[in-house]
């Protein structure tokens, strides 16, 4: 489905993505993890060329995205859903219009677009918030609108750029629920950038750990987090252990000194 070879992106002297390679199969959920500033978001944004890569290739559905013309790129982007960390909703438009916008611009008749948008919003539990504008909704609801907007295209690939990073823990859950459903029950192909360990553990088919723009470890969650081969993996393992212990103690009614 997606094959990234030797992808590199520099910002001046800063190498954000350094010879990055990755393959994502159809229906696979790959979680991209790593410390802040390691190049995760840049990597995921280069896939639909929201950020132009310097070199390397990105093959999606058999075509090299880096070679596409402007018109071809726009057509390809419609096949790739993108969920932003900060939702990136159009503030002057309602939830329904936000979802419809892309569809209508893609040439979908307004009625059909409306239907699809309503359906997408219903899927994320916002059927009662169709006319609400972003500033009338919570962060979780806004992100769900963002997810609905991406889903409305029925994309072949979903890219998630830290979708819960801007949400408080309670709102995170409602987003994760949607994501889990999409991953587990709809078999969507997803590449997710997140710091949510639980999501990675429960949903990811594969974990890719990055540091300083490079892939440092890659594997299934049990392999990466139980028997990590990299220092980053080791840190994640320790974090999981810490969280588990903390949760257990908390549940046992004890407090950590």
């Amino acid at each position: 489905m997606l094959k990234i070879d030797h992808l590199t992106k520099k910002f001046g002297s800063l190498v954000a993505v350094d010879d990055f390679n990755l393959q994502v199969g159809r229906g696979e959920t790959v979680v991209l993890m790593g410390p802040s500033g390691c190049g995760k978001s840049t990597t995921i944004r280069t896939i639909n060329r929201l950020v132009e890569p310097d070199c390397g290739s990105i093959h999606f559905a058999g075509i090299d995205i880096t070679k596409l013309s402007e018109d071809e790129l726009m057509a390809t982007r419609k096949k790739i859903g993108f969920v932003f960390q900060h939702f990136n909703l159009i503030h002057r438009l309602s939830a329904l219009d936000n979802v419809m916008l892309g569809l209508v611009m893609a040439g979908t008749p307004p009625e059909i677009a409306r239907y699809k948008a309503t359906e997408a919003l219903t899927k994320v539990g916002l059927e009662n918030h169709l006319t609400h504008k972003p500033d009338q909704m919570s962060g979780g609801q806004q992100q769900r609108v963002g997810i609905a907007r991406a889903l409305a295209f029925e994309p072949e690939l979903m890219l998630w750029d830290e979708p819960t990073a801007s949400l408080d823990p309670i709102l995170v859950r409602e987003v994760l629920v949607v994501m889990e459903e999409l991953a587990k029950y709809r078999s969507s192909t997803m590449l997710v950038v997140t710091h949510e360990l639980s999501f990675a553990l429960h949903v990811a088919d594969r974990i890719v750990l990055m540091n300083k723009g490079k892939v440092v470890e890659e594997g299934i969650p049990s392999q990466v987090f139980v028997d990590p081969q990299s220092s980053i993996g080791q840190q994640y393992k320790e974090l999981i252990e810490y969280q588990m212990n903390t949760s257990a103690l908390t549940l046992a009614g004890k407090r950590i000194a």
Binding site: N88, L101, F153
Partner: protein, 790 residues
């Protein structure tokens, strides 16, 4: 060729894609066109409104173009009486004229008079002062008739010439003296340009050369001097035209009257007695001092008292280098200076004795000269006769001069021949050694004497030798005679050589003298003598009695003035001359423009006797801009400036409201892939990017195009700003706005990125996301037709 074809194809593609298709670029083009149209309308409206207001105000002040002919200004408080009087004058003088009361400005009320056509004449306009002179309230009258040209700066003396030339031009109705200027009324407005050009041509073909004198070096009679310089320019420089135009008087008669007075003054001053006061030791007189002499008074001036009428008073006018004071008599006469002790007069009180005076009385000298001349004239007939006689004698002498020279020449030749003969004759003598012969003769004589002595002894013995002794004695005497003869011969040779030498010298001197005599121009001398004879003949024909009578009369008529009278007359003349407007410090000569001041300078210097003057050249006159035209021109400029200001404001507004969002999007696109460069290269890049960043280029281009178009359409203009300054200002405005575009119109990069992620094109993003969220403006209005999600 292939490249050009490719380039054209590319341009066509861009044009098709950007303009012809329904793209946001076409929206921008439409926006630009609509902005220009609206901006031009706004600018034009603002400028035309202002212009209309000011024009209306101006028309209410001075009437429409050509509506009125005469403007009369009176004091505000007298306007009612003035209006009545003006109306009366109009009724009496200009039947059919129309009077209108105009606005009152700064205490002056304006009245406008529209004259019937038949009254629009040179005579009327040159006599406005007289015609309206009776209006109370200190009225001033001026000409408003249009079309009109006014020429100022024309020297008074050149006005007539200029007016005559202008009057002959086609399209000129008449020319008149408009105060110090020359007014030209034309037959119609369309003739103005042609007449203007012709007048300019005349003004350029002449120049006024102004000769300025420093204070203290003014000419005695500038009028006379100006005329002399003008004459010299014509004769020496072959100037086609040169005229003294420095007369500023109202009319020539008065000017020449003053000129005459100046000459009179000069005449009087020339005949005033010059008094020379030699100061006593320790006294120093200065210019301006006054010295009193006894004159006809019975007593010597008394120290401490005031002078009386009989005293002679002398004003010191200068001090010579030897200390002697020169002065003129202000009271009394030089003839009364028999008592020549002078006393200084201070504040009309007689002071100390200062010195003795001598004087020269030119009048007395003139009388004497005339008397002597009369005597001389009486001698003329006798002198003429004597001279004539002498001339005849001289002519006879000249006639015989030639033959005399010939005789002398012959004599010289004879003498030369004689000398040669003498030389030839005595040359044999010169070869004889007379001394040796004399010595031999002397020796023989002495030997013979010894023999004789011997024989006389022998005769005692033998008386037979007596005869021998006698013979010998006789021989000895013969020898002595020969010796004596040889001596004489020697003298003859010497005398002959002397004679030859003398003859040679005489011949040489004679030849030299003859050469000199031959050089004498006998014919010329004769001719001169004949001419002299003719003159003498004329002299003889003189009416000597008449001349004598006239000289006697002149001697009697020579200024019979006292010095006091001269001084007072000069003072009166000075008062009169000073009261006239004849400039003493400058002379104006009107001449053709072909002559340079450098060429004129020597003539001026020669005439005035020094070079302490300045020469300037200026145009004959200047066509004065028509005040009304100037005001309208000013209004047009104000209108253009207002249009320009409005255009600038509108451009800034459109740039801010409509284009900053576009600039921000362009900037964002640029920054997405921005590569940071550090160091001096980074600084250079940052400086370069100030002008080359795409959003700034866009701003400069839009600003330049918009402002230039609005300027052109609305007739905007800024004084001293060249045409290329307008797009430059527009570009600068665009650059400034682009610099602050993101602050003015911040756009949500997240929204734009969302649109991009949804596969929306740039046009769609602009129409659906950026513009609707941007500042309300023309672009938003135009976009509302295109936007799908309102």
């Amino acid at each position: 060729m292939k490249k050009v074809g490719k380039y054209l194809a590319k341009c066509k593609r861009i044009l098709t894609r950007s303009i012809l298709k329904n793209t946001f670029n076409r929206d921008l083009l439409m926006l630009l066109i609509v902005s220009i149209v609206i901006g031009s309308l706004v600018s034009s409206t603002v400028s035309y409104s202002a212009n209309a207001y000011f024009s209306k105000t101006l028309a209410s002040l001075v009437g429409d173009y050509g509506e009125y002919d005469i403007l009369i200004q009176v004091r505000e408080e007298m306007k009612e009486d003035s209006a009545i009087q003006i109306q009366k004058i109009i009724d009496d003088t200009f039947q059919g004229a129309r009077l209108k009361e105009g606005p009152t400005l700064t205490g002056k009320t304006n009245f406008f008079i529209a004259l019937p056509d038949q009254y629009k004449t040179k005579q009327t306009y040159e006599n406005l002062g007289k015609i309206f002179g009776s209006i109370p309230g200190g009225a001033g009258a001026g000409v408003l008739t249009e079309p009109r040209l006014t020429i100022r700066g024309v020297p008074e003396g050149a006005k007539n010439m200029l007016m005559e030339k202008i009057t002959q031009m086609e399209g000129v109705r008449f020319v008149f003296r408009d105060g110090s200027s020359v007014g030209v009324i034309m037959t119609s407005l369309d003739k103005t340009a042609a007449v203007n050009a012709q007048i300019k041509s005349i003004l350029n073909s002449y120049q006024v050369v102004e000769i300025s004198f420093p204070v203290g070096a003014e000419p005695t009679n500038p009028i006379r001097l100006g005329e002399a310089i003008a004459n010299d320019m014509q004769t020496q420089l072959k100037a086609e035209f040169a005229q003294n135009v420095s007369i500023d008087g109202k009319n020539d008669n008065m000017t020449y009257m003053v000129s005459t007075m100046m000459e009179l003054k000069r005449f009087l001053v020339a005949y005033a007695s010059q008094v020379f006061i030699s100061p006593v030791a320790g006294i120093k007189l200065t210019k301006g001092d006054t010295v009193v002499f006894q004159g006809s008074s019975a007593n010597m001036p008394t120290v401490g008292s005031s002078p009386d009428r009989g005293n002679v008073i002398v004003a010191v006018t200068g001090i010579r280098s030897d200390g002697v004071a020169e002065g003129t008599i202000t009271q009394g006469d030089a003839a009364l200076l028999s008592h020549n002790q002078g006393y200084k007069l201070i504040n009309n009180i007689i002071g100390d004795y200062v010195g003795t005076a001598t004087y020269q009385n030119p009048r007395q000298q003139l009388g004497s000269a005339l008397t002597e001349t009369t005597k001389l004239v009486g001698q003329i007939p006798g002198f003429a006769q004597d001279s004539s006689n002498m001339s005849q004698i001289a002519l006879s002498a000249l006639d015989s001069y030639g033959s005399n020279i010939g005789t002398i020449e012959k004599t010289m030749q004879n003498m030369q021949t004689a000398g040669n003969a003498i030389q030839s004759a005595t040359s044999g003598l010169a070869n004889i050694n007379t001394s040796a012969i004399q010595n031999q003769l002397d020796s023989s004589s002495r030997a013979m004497g010894g023999l004789i002595n011997t024989l006389q002894v022998v005769r005692l013995l033998s008386p037979d030798v007596s005869s021998s002794i006698d013979n010998l004695s006789s021989t000895q005497r013969g020898l002595d005679q020969i010796k004596t003869g040889l001596n004489s011969l020697d003298h003859v040779a010497a005398d002959a050589r002397q004679a030859k030498s003398t003859i040679d010298q005489v011949v040489a001197n004679g030849s030299s003298t003859l050469a000199s005599l031959r050089e004498f121009d006998i014919a010329g001398a004769k001719s001169n003598l004949l001419t002299a004879n003719e003159h003498l003949a004329q002299l003889k024909q003189l009416d000597v009695p008449l001349i004598t009578t006239q000289l006697t009369y002149m001697a009697a008529a020579a200024p019979n003035l006292k010095d006091e009278e001269i001084s007072r007359s000069v003072a009166v003349l000075d008062q009169f001359i000073d009261g006239q407007a004849i400039p003493g410090q400058r002379i104006q000569i009107l001449t053709t423009s072909a002559i340079s001041t450098d060429a004129i300078a020597p003539i001026v210097h020669n005439q005035i006797g020094h070079d302490n003057v300045s020469l300037y050249s200026s145009a004959l006159g200047v066509i004065e801009p028509n005040t009304r035209s100037e005001v309208y021109q000013l209004l047009n400029e104000v209108k253009a400036v207002l249009a320009a200001m409005a255009a600038i404001i509108v451009t800034v507004l459109f740039l801010v409201l409509d284009h900053t969002a576009v600039m921000t999007v362009i900037r964002r696109k640029r920054l997405v892939n921005k590569t940071k460069v550090r160091g001096w290269r980074g600084m250079a890049v940052r400086v370069a990017i100030t002008f080359t960043a795409p959003e700034r280029q866009y701003g400069m281009m839009v600003g330049a195009v918009m402002l230039t178009a609005i300027f052109v359409i609305s007739g905007g203009g800024i004084p001293y700003l060249p045409w290329f300054g307008v797009p430059l200002i527009g570009a600068v405005l665009g650059l400034l706005v682009a610099n602050y575009a993101e602050k003015i119109s911040p756009i949500s990069s997240e929204e734009v990125m969302a649109g991009e992620s949804l596969g929306m094109s740039f046009d769609e993003i602009m129409r659906e996301i950026v513009v609707p969220s941007g500042r309300p403006g023309l672009l938003q209005k135009l976009n509302s037709r295109k936007v799908k999600f309102r």
